[in-house]
Symmetry: D2
Subunit: 224 residues, 4 copies
């Protein structure tokens, strides 16, 4: 559903990506995707998922969803709501929103039934292997010590990327691997793809940039 | 910000209140509020908050929000995002999403700074008193054993409503009290208001109804 | 460290296994282990771990431990405290105390460094495979729907046991597999061992029994 | 049950307070209490609660307990287990183990039924007031920004202590107030008592000291 190589942007709960700014950022992603032909996917604020999915044509994902079925779960986002919002899928187990093992398994299985895409975040090679057992669409490897640092994993620990790709494909050949944590430049994107990754997952590098669209454009060129 | 007496509808994560159905339910709330002149407030799916707030003119609230500031909090809803979505406020500490005491205090204080309305849910007279210390806009008393039963607290335990109203007003005269759990008919609404409540908080009684708008209309008439 | 086949008894937070009763149950386990020669391991109340480990000679395990290092963590049990208490290891990710994936991985790795035994609980074949990636000492498969029912997984879903054993050994040949949920009789133990399990993990079947020692003795005979 | 003024020592999950060291620290507390006549209460490692309670004659408290009744709650400590361990009560809602509002209320009520003492930790004047509604035996005010700093709240924010004492007594005259966060010297203890506190709650100031008993002795003299 999401073409690769992909640049996946998680806007987190940053103030620079809310309301009018959030919608403008979504449109910037759409423009860059259209002008470069590079696949860009966006994880907007949870509260803006339905609105953003309606406003832009690029794939939109939730930042998090629960493993349980629709029902009396005040304040929680279930997969059916993600789908009803017009989104393509969801991030799962982000380092800022870790999930229980049994819930990750159930969530990935349920998403498959609903035709939703899952991007499971992991923190090292071993947890990447464990999640490969669930055969999600994507695994995004993000060493937690590098998140938000501007030091890309592809540079700091290139072997983590290479070994993760290998480990994941061994247990789940169809799962694609994203390189997360510290991605900020076209060079970082290129390095990630050369190490075997199918794309990157990033956040502050774009959201906190003075000129978000310019950075996005530069990153997209790194994926060409 | 929210006029009382109010009928507050929490659509939870029910499948009957998502996507097109969610939007239609929001419009039904708006129509009934307009035709009867009764104050109706709506808590849509978290993922539809910005969209629904944009589409209808009645007050819209989040079902839950976190106590922390905007930042790197993937998958969480902060108050600034609630405000950016065009919402009026948020439910706090719903029985299906209980919060830590320190977080309730911080969240209510922060909401006041942002000009957002808080509706703190409590489970008995003692916790209602404790939350009155925080001086939120609303306290919604919902004995957990009655939630979803169709047995209104105003009938099953009328003294809980009366004593809660008294206990809350004693510590925070400006806080309004909603009667939750088991509300389903015009008579339940009327009984709640007669016991001193400033409105009702309900969910399944409307969301699960065969004709949602008809039930809303009937409930609104109970508040006239 | 723990000989197999093993009967592992988790006393949970049951009132029948606290204080004087808890100590008496521990001594009953010790007597049965000595008289039958069958390996019995015990998970006492968390608050009684050091006391029970001091009083009996059979292996004693914590019911739960956290993944983090010793420090300012009021009210939490770290692995170093488990070791200092004289215990042999810990249950991990019990169905009543599920853990985050990243924490299970970190906890199992840390336990190996400390020479502590880990018994990771899982709910189905897929999560058993995922946990096998961490190469713990034991994996205890407990379909949640059978816990506390008295219906043994070895009877209700024998293929879950067989396939779990196979799936686990494939990824981690050294990991032993326990059969949990619903075990109550010598026959259940025998069936589990015949399906390839290295022992059983049980709780209410013994703790709630009128004569705990008699049931233990019967179970032990099933392992001969 | 616990005489005041009291010096309450929470050993947290520090490595300096486990196993043989934990027992030696407990005995040091007992010796200082006996030699000075000052009331000293101890919160040992959760795993050592029953053992320490058996070995020393001073009041011993759990660091944390859950609000629910005994039952199938693997790895959790219930109040009945605290009592069965021979402990006098429990810390509640420590800043490193915050609890949900509804659980604090239920836990304090349950502890009263069981004759157990509760020490509810709070982070500011407002949450202290809210917890006073539950009428626990003690409220320990610990501004989180001072915990572990060695800067006592009695010095950094004396008005927090004075106002907390006043606010608590207003809603619950029988509740005693402890001064937490940053206590390390006899002078800090004296200042806390002069500000109206009934004792102090401390941790690292003793546990991390080169000579734990000497520091305890000095603190006790501050309470004379």
């Amino acid at each position: 559903m999401i073409e690769t190589p992909v640049i996946m942007l998680n806007v987190k709960a940053y103030s620079e990506s809310m309301g009018a700014k959030g919608l403008e950022l979504a449109r910037a992603c759409e423009r860059v995707a259209e002008s470069t032909g590079v696949s860009i996917a966006l994880c907007p604020q949870q509260t803006e998922l339905a609105l953003v999915a309606k406003e832009v044509s690029i794939p939109v994902l939730a930042q998090h969803a629960e493993a349980f079925a629709p029902g009396a779960h005040t304040g929680y986002v279930v997969l059916e709501a993600v789908k009803a919002a017009g989104a393509t899928g969801t991030l799962v187990n982000h380092s800022e929103h870790r999930m229980k093992l049994a819930d990750i398994e159930a969530l990935v299985a349920r998403a498959k039934e609903l035709g939703l895409c899952t991007v499971v975040c992991t923190n090292n090679i071993t947890t990447s292997r464990a999640c490969a057992v669930f055969e999600p669409d994507f695994i995004a490897v993000e060493p937690p010590e590098l998140i938000g640092t501007g030091i890309p994993v592809s540079k700091a620990e290139p072997e983590v990327v290479e070994k993760s790709v290998k480990a994941v494909k061994e247990l789940s050949p169809s799962t694609k691997v994203l390189c997360g944590a510290g991605i900020g430049t076209a060079e970082d994107v290129r390095a990630a793809l050369e190490l075997g990754a199918d794309g990157v997952l990033l956040a502050s590098g774009v959201v906190k940039a003075a000129n978000q669209e310019e950075v996005l454009l530069s990153l997209a060129r790194g994926a060409l």
